[in-house]
Structure formats: C-alpha cells, structure tokens
Symmetry: C2
Subunit: 143 residues, 2 copies
DNA sequence: CCGTCGTACATAAGCGGGTGATATAAATTG
DNA sequence: CAATTTATATCACCCGCTTATGTACGACGG
C-alpha cells in the first residue's frame, strides 16, 4: 500500500464521521435510506437482488421491505414470470422521503461549505468526479 | 443554498454509502469505533463529555463504555476531584483494535485508489485539507 | 453545618434492526 | 415425477439505542 494512501484513508475516516453526524436521526435507518435511493435510482428490483449490495442478510431485507411497505414508502408486486419472486419498487411517498432527507443533509452541508475558502471549495468540486469514480470502483469490485 | 452545493451534497451522499460499505462488519459498532478514536486522539474524558459529541444519549454511552470495558478496550477510572464522575480511557488493546480497523479500511480503500487516474488521485489529495476543514467546521458548529 | 437542588452516572423496560436456522412454495432438473 | 435448488418468509435471539427513573455526590444559601 502506497504511503500516501494512508493519509487519504485517515482523512476519509475523519470525514466519514463528520458526514455521519450530519444527518442525526431520521425515521429512516441507514440501510432503509440507502435501499430507497437504490430503488429510486435504478428502478424496481427483486428482493434477492437487493440484500447483497446493501450488505445485509436476506431476512433483514424481507423485514426492511415489510417496514417500508407498512410506512407506504415501497411496495411489493408479484413477478409474473416467477411465482417465487417479489418485485420491490419505491412509491411516490418514498421518493418524497428520499428527497426530503437529501434536502436536509444538503442544507446542513451547505452551511459548512460556506466556511471554506474559494480555493478549498474549488478543490472539493474538483475532487467530486474522483469520488464518484471510487464509488463505481467499489460497486464493481463488490459484484 | 447555492446551486452547486446540491451537486456536492449529492456526490458526498453517494460517496458516504461507499465508505460505509468499505468496513463491512467488525466487532465494533460505528459509535464504538468513533468513541475509541476520540479517546485515542484526545485522551481520557469524563463520560459526560463523550456522549454529546457522539450524538447518543448518556445511558447509551454508559452502556457503550460498559461493553468496551468488558472487551478490555477501554477502562473506567474514578475522578479524584469529583466523586460522581467517571474518567474513561482507552487501553492498549483498544488502541490495537482501532489501529487494526483503520488498517483494514485503509487497505480496502487503497485498492480502490489504484483505479484512479493520476489526475483524479491528485484531485483527491488536493481536497483533503478542505475535507478536514469541513470536519472542523462541523465540530465547532456542534459545540 | 444542613436541607435543597443540580449534576454525573447507572439501571430498567422497550423497540428497531440485525443475525442464523428453518419453513414453504415455486422453479428446475435428472 | 421425485429430488433439488431458488426465492421469500418466519422464528428465536442479540445488540445498541431510546426514555424514564434511580442513586450518589457536589454546590450552595440559610
């Protein structure tokens, strides 16, 4: 491991904690929010396609979907081509919830961004594509 | 809120999920790890100074310290100047656990960093001070 | 000194969200 | 068509958080 990577890792570690505290406690758990975002971003999925990328077990996803359904944020549909399968999709209320959560976090973050110098702000913006690329790399590594 | 902030927020949101999945399942909860890092970084603290910055309730911190103590990662000491207070400090085993966790995450991250172009890598390194500054701003805003 | 009040921590009860083991039903296969 | 695999659900359990409450010490005015 290159030496500089350690510095990057340390910086990310600290920053991760900061981001974590930026969305104190909402009605949605981390996994619930992440799953809703996935459904919003890439459409309906069978339950068996959801739990692995979220890093939880299949029973956990069953229960999560049940909770989301109870709160009206997602819904189950039968898969016509496979009687065993369940297709999970996000509802309008779910989209609304995701959007609201995103908004809250964005505003908290925006307040912080005001405190940066223009150079620092530019550095952050310039790093965004790289961060996005890291996310993609992590996703394909997981698959 | 400036329009570009929304893009930054969206990027961070995605990146946050990536970081979250980078340290899959350890023996330490997120709060436990964060608390140990705090103890490692800024020395022993009274329990009442710990729970607020971690964003949990006082009973939760009492329980967390009890668990950490049971696992030998932290220890309680009486405060000689205040009979009510408890001073919590990290043990060598605790330092070891933090260090190990950090190592695991750093290696996983390092593997991803290999996939960046040199320009992207430089952009990430260049943004580190700004990310650090954001963490500081968040910390002082919380106080 | 001494009752009163605030502060620091612990305990209790309950709940959300995770786990592994197992059940059920539909699809696949030999 | 019996056997097996796959997709989901259910069960029993544990961990970590919550609020409400208990306990012991410190501070402080009479």
């Amino acid at each position: 491991m290159p030496a500089e990577d350690a510095a990057v890792a340390a910086g990310f570690e600290h920053f991760y904690e900061t981001l974590r505290r930026l969305t104190p406690r909402g009605p949605l758990s981390l996994t619930a929010a992440s799953t809703l975002r996935r459904l919003e971003r890439s459409g309906p999925h069978r339950l068996c396609e959801l739990y692995a990328p979220e890093g939880i077990s299949q029973p956990a996803m069953t229960q999560l979907v049940t909770r989301l359904e109870k709160e009206g944020l997602a819904e189950r549909t039968a898969d016509p081509t496979d009687g065993r399968a369940v297709v999970v999709s996000i509802t309008d209320a779910g989209r609304e919830a995701v959007s609201h959560r995103r908004q809250v976090r964005a505003e908290a973050l925006s307040a912080l961004l005001q405190g940066l110098t223009p150079e620092q702000y530019e550095a952050v913006v310039a790093a965004l594509p790289a961060l996005e690329r890291l996310s993609d790399l992590a996703a394909e590594q997981a698959s």
